[in-house]
Amino acid sequence: MKMYSKKRIDIMVEAPLMTRVLKLLDDLGVRGYTVLPALAGKGQDGSWHRDGQVGRVGSVVQIFCILDEARVDAVIEPLFKLVSRQIGIVTLSDVQVIRAEHF
């Protein structure tokens, strides 16, 4: 089956920032993304666990979006600018997709 090469951006970011990241992705014209809840984690800013948490501080969500290689730079720079002051990391990896027009 014909596959097309795309890039996947993964953003692990503290929950209070989620709406801002999603808004940024919208503004940058990203066609789709998915948010996964994280249960627990550790980073430079200490470890956290979701259970029992009432507020959103301390917990992290994982946002990922699949997009065209050509668009990566346009997206990752403002994204990094937003996330770099905050608790969070961004990774990039290779994926292949079936429906190219989707991304």
Binding site: P16, R20, D45, H49, D51, G52, V54, G55, G58
Partner: protein
């Protein structure tokens, strides 16, 4: 009631895997907000709007906006904390902890006192002003409290539920409350026990984290600042002329420190401040202190003065 808090605290300190699922904790938080909002609102519907209502609201706003200056001053004098961290902590102590407030309400009732029903509205009014002050302190005006953040923060779910239920309570009055009382009134105290068990677990985790990141000077601040806040609360209450119960509640509000609304707002508006300092301090030090020793003190204080 406090015993369940202690149970949760001990379990977390002993590294038990005891925990309440996040969804349940959030659900209980919404329930508790609705319940006290309704109770307060129906109280207002019953007794009419007291002339002191606006004075009390104003007092709350002034306390919330003013106390961060005191806290900031004390912190920068007694510890080498960077400016942003000191301002962030100050915001927490100007604002309030609604769970501490709930526990104080139960204590007031158990002591046979009655408080003004509109105190929940005062509590709501005290959440935000402290953040504005703290941002100003942190940056002398450079802070990022733009319109979006302000809207996000002031429309946070718990405030909306609390005030909304308060208004609904005013509208439906005591008669409208009756059919839902078996859900919102009777089991209230029991739900609070379960919630405090959970808060105990969280506070215990905060305490464990805090052991690593907090200096003695800062821990000490977490213990004496509530008492200073209590004094301001007491002064404000007597100026406004609140009843003994209301005085105890205003003292508690002034003495308590936020650990939900303020941290969330600061992560957006002041990301340079380290949550690894302000969260354990508010959650692991001041919150348990208030729940166990603080509230009885504040109640005694209020009874003594009135």
């Amino acid at each position: 009631m406090v015993l369940f808090f202690v149970l949760g605290l001990s379990a977390a300190m002993a590294r038990s895997d005891l925990s309440i699922p996040e969804a349940i904790a959030k659900g209980m938080a919404v329930y508790l907000m609705m319940a006290i909002g309704l109770k307060g609102g129906t109280g207002v519907a019953q007794h009419g709007i007291d002339t002191t209502l606006f004075a009390a609201l104003l007092a709350g706003v002034v306390l919330s906006a003013g106390m961060p200056f005191v806290a900031f001053f004390l912190l920068t004098k007694t510890s080498p904390l960077p400016r942003v961290d000191a301002a962030a902590i100050a915001a927490h102590y100007g604002s309030i902890s609604i769970v501490t407030f709930l526990a104080a309400m139960e204590a007031v009732r158990a002591a046979g006192l009655e408080a003004e029903s509109y105190m929940v509205a005062v509590a709501a009014a005290m959440e935000m002003p402290a953040i504005v002050t703290a941002l100003w302190l942190a940056k002398r005006g450079e802070g990022r409290l733009d319109a979006t953040t302000l809207r996000e923060v002031s429309l946070n779910g718990s405030i909306v539920v609390l005030l909304g239920s308060f208004v609904i309570g005013c509208l439906i009055g005591p008669d409208g409350l009756k059919p839902v009382a078996p859900f919102f009134i009777d089991p209230f105290k029991g739900v609070l026990c379960l919630f405090l068990l959970d808060m105990g677990v969280i506070a215990g985790r905060g305490l464990r984290e805090g052991r690593k990141s907090l200096t003695p000077a800062v821990v000490l601040f977490g213990l004496y600042m509530p008492l200073i806040g209590a004094m301001f609360g007491l002064a404000a209450a007597s100026i406004v002329g609140l009843s003994a119960g209301g005085t105890a509640l205003l003292i508690t509000l002034a003495a308590s420190a936020s650990y939900i609304a303020v941290p969330a707002a600061l992560r957006l508006a002041l990301p340079e401040a380290r949550p690894s300092i302000y969260l354990p301090l508010s959650l692991g030090v001041t919150f348990p202190f208030n729940l166990t020793l603080g509230i009885p003190i504040y109640l005694a204080l209020a009874a003594y003065v009135s």
